[in-house]
């Protein structure tokens, strides 16, 4: 452990950059960077990658000092993996133990980057599929402890519930980023958020107890972060 960094959360470290509070994860693919992030190297050569909260909803949640229910041993289903900016940090966290992340992405271009990322990291299972239809990738995904979802489309809460029905273990956690504009461009964001939360609480596929909701501004405008735990069978 370097002088500059100290543990912040399982697999996440805090330090300073230009005098400001800054989070890091231990680079699981030493020698390579993913999106232009800064590397800090300690005395024994271990690399730490800075995590930009503006580029990552999950990073913003950590930055806002929310307790994030993700541990290095988690099995994670990541919906809306994009080109792997955040997935790479999740992979760093999971690499400290034996966690694994199932990363689902639907667009070709980011998927190509994601595959190249998975080639360098042994705990990412890349899946080229549609997150709104979990039955499509069910043959590849085992039951998971955590679902992280960041998809910019309508019915975000319903998509999370449907995936939870198929994959989320009893007592497993959902970490959800809701983008108001994606749900409905014309509606007031507050109204959108309230409706999505209601869906999470009562849905035929799965229901959740909300642990925390938080505005992701200034890192992400009109985005809300939600942390929830899956209710036991009724």
């Amino acid at each position: 452990m370097t002088d500059f960094l100290k543990p912040y959360s399982d697999g996440v470290y805090e330090g300073r950059m230009r005098g400001k509070f800054q989070l890091y994860t231990k680079n699981a693919a030493p020698g390579s960077i993913v999106y232009g992030e800064k590397i800090m190297t300690d005395d024994d050569g271990t690399e730490y990658r800075s995590w930009d909260p503006k580029r990552s909803k999950l990073g913003a949640l950590y930055q806002k000092k929310i307790r994030v229910p993700l541990t290095s041993g988690s099995r994670v289903l990541y919906l809306g993996a994009a080109n792997g900016t955040t997935v790479s940090h999740v992979s760093d966290i999971l690499a400290e133990s034996s966690g694994v992340v199932y990363a689902v992405e639907f667009s070709e271009r980011p998927m190509r980057d994601l595959v190249m990322l998975a080639e360098k990291r042994n705990n990412i299972i890349p899946i080229f599929s549609d997150a709104t239809r979990p039955e499509l990738y069910f043959p590849m995904v085992e039951p998971v402890d955590v679902i992280f979802q960041d998809v910019a489309q309508a019915n975000q809460a319903a998509i999370a519930c449907k995936n939870a029905a198929y994959f989320l273990k009893e007592g497993g956690h959902l970490i959800l980023s809701i983008k108001a504009r994606s749900v409905d461009v014309a509606k007031n964001p507050k109204k959108v958020f309230a409706e999505e939360i209601k869906t999470l609480e009562k849905n035929a596929d799965a229901s959740f107890k909300i642990l925390k909701t938080i505005d992701l501004a200034p890192f992400h405008v009109d985005h809300m972060g939600v942390i929830a735990v899956k209710n036991s069978k009724e």
Binding site: S98, E108, E119, P126, F128, P139, A206
Partner: protein, 328 residues
């Protein structure tokens, strides 16, 4: 496999799984290389029967979940948890690569070409403007439209200065200007090549859409929808207003009128129609576009009836309107 109504099976990456109160391995894979396994996984993933089976098991999965690691170990594909992850990862990577390689379908090539065409148009305009500005110092009186101007500069004989107030051009000035003009002409050629590429691909991939909307508009609609599959899946009301997103947002947020048409307006059937019939005609045209896209996506064969039906419908709209006028 099982006679019981409750017993069902589905395929996962490591083999077949049967559910009958709990999950058990019913079939091991007979193959073992990751390339073979990924080929098999691709067919599993696209099997609509398997997808249906999984969907029908959702109520079961809500309550209990299969232990893939144990089942894969039983299938002989992994001895440890670490091996489970590494084997699956290798197969998943190969699967994704093959899927990505196959995803560049002909309609996607049309989309790429349409985007390149937009860039070429922008670039050509930009550089033509620069050339005009540059050369006008030498020949301000020259007044030709776009490509003709560029062609003129590319072909000027060095001796000729036809200008009364232009600067005399030196040998170097002219050389530079001419080669700059040549570059622009080459971009004009490229533009034409991209256009015929689009035309060729469109007629192959989307014969009905090409016939109905024309190659250019058809390609643009394809591009905006994100592919033939997406265009085929789109409600015709969305096709009607695609490209009028700003007006639509304005409409939803305030009392602005709902847009009657978006990109499809560039079609002569609409832009030459009488103003008050445009809404109706746009609705019929969008429906025919949707039908064309669906025909192209699902059958791929040309059906002349789509266009003739549309013409009949539009004639009826126009007649009804003129009769109404007569009455009034």
């Amino acid at each position: 496999m099982s006679d019981s109504e409750k017993s069902k099976n589905f395929s996962a990456w490591f083999g077949s799984v049967t559910y009958g109160g709990d999950f058990s391995l019913s079939e091991k894979p007979l193959i073992s290389t990751s390339s073979e396994l990924s080929d098999q996984l691709i067919s599993t993933l696209s099997s609509s029967q398997n997808i249906r089976l999984i969907s029908s098991l959702k109520p079961v999965f809500k309550e209990e979940k299969p232990d893939y690691r144990a089942l894969a170990k039983e299938a002989g594909l992994a001895d440890t948890d670490a091996e489970y992850v590494s084997t699956l990862r290798e197969i998943a990577i190969q699967t994704a690569r093959k899927q990505l390689s196959a995803s560049m379908t002909e309609d996607k090539k049309v989309i790429q070409a349409v985007e390149a065409l937009d860039d070429l148009n922008e670039t050509i305009n930009h550089l033509t403007e620069r050339l005009t500005e540059w050369y006008s110092a030498y020949y301000p009186e020259l007044d030709l439209p776009g490509e003709a101007y560029v062609r003129f500069v590319s072909e000027i004989p060095e001796s000729a200065s036809q200008s009364l107030m232009g600067a005399p051009a030196t040998h170097e000035d002219l050389l530079l200007l001419q080669s700059f003009a040549d570059d622009i002409l080459s971009l004009y050629e490229r533009k034409a090549a991209v256009e015929s590429f689009i035309e060729m691909k469109m007629k192959e991939t989307a014969p009905n859409l090409s016939q109905l909307a024309g190659v250019v508009l058809g390609a643009r609609l394809l591009s905006m929808a994100g592919g033939l599959k997406h265009l085929a899946a789109m409600p015709s009301g969305s096709i009607q207003v695609m490209g009028a997103e700003k007006a639509m947002v304005k409409h939803l947020r305030s009392n602005a009128p709902s847009p009657k048409h978006g990109t499809i307006f560039s079609h002569p059937i609409l832009n030459t129609a009488p103003f008050r019939l445009r809404g109706k005609i746009a609705r019929s045209f969008a429906a025919a576009v949707s039908l064309s896209a669906r025909t192209d996506y699902y059958s791929g064969t040309f059906n002349p009836k789509i266009e003739s039906d549309l013409n009949t419908k539009i004639n009826r709209i126009k007649q009804a309107s003129s009769q109404k006028e007569v009455k009034e």
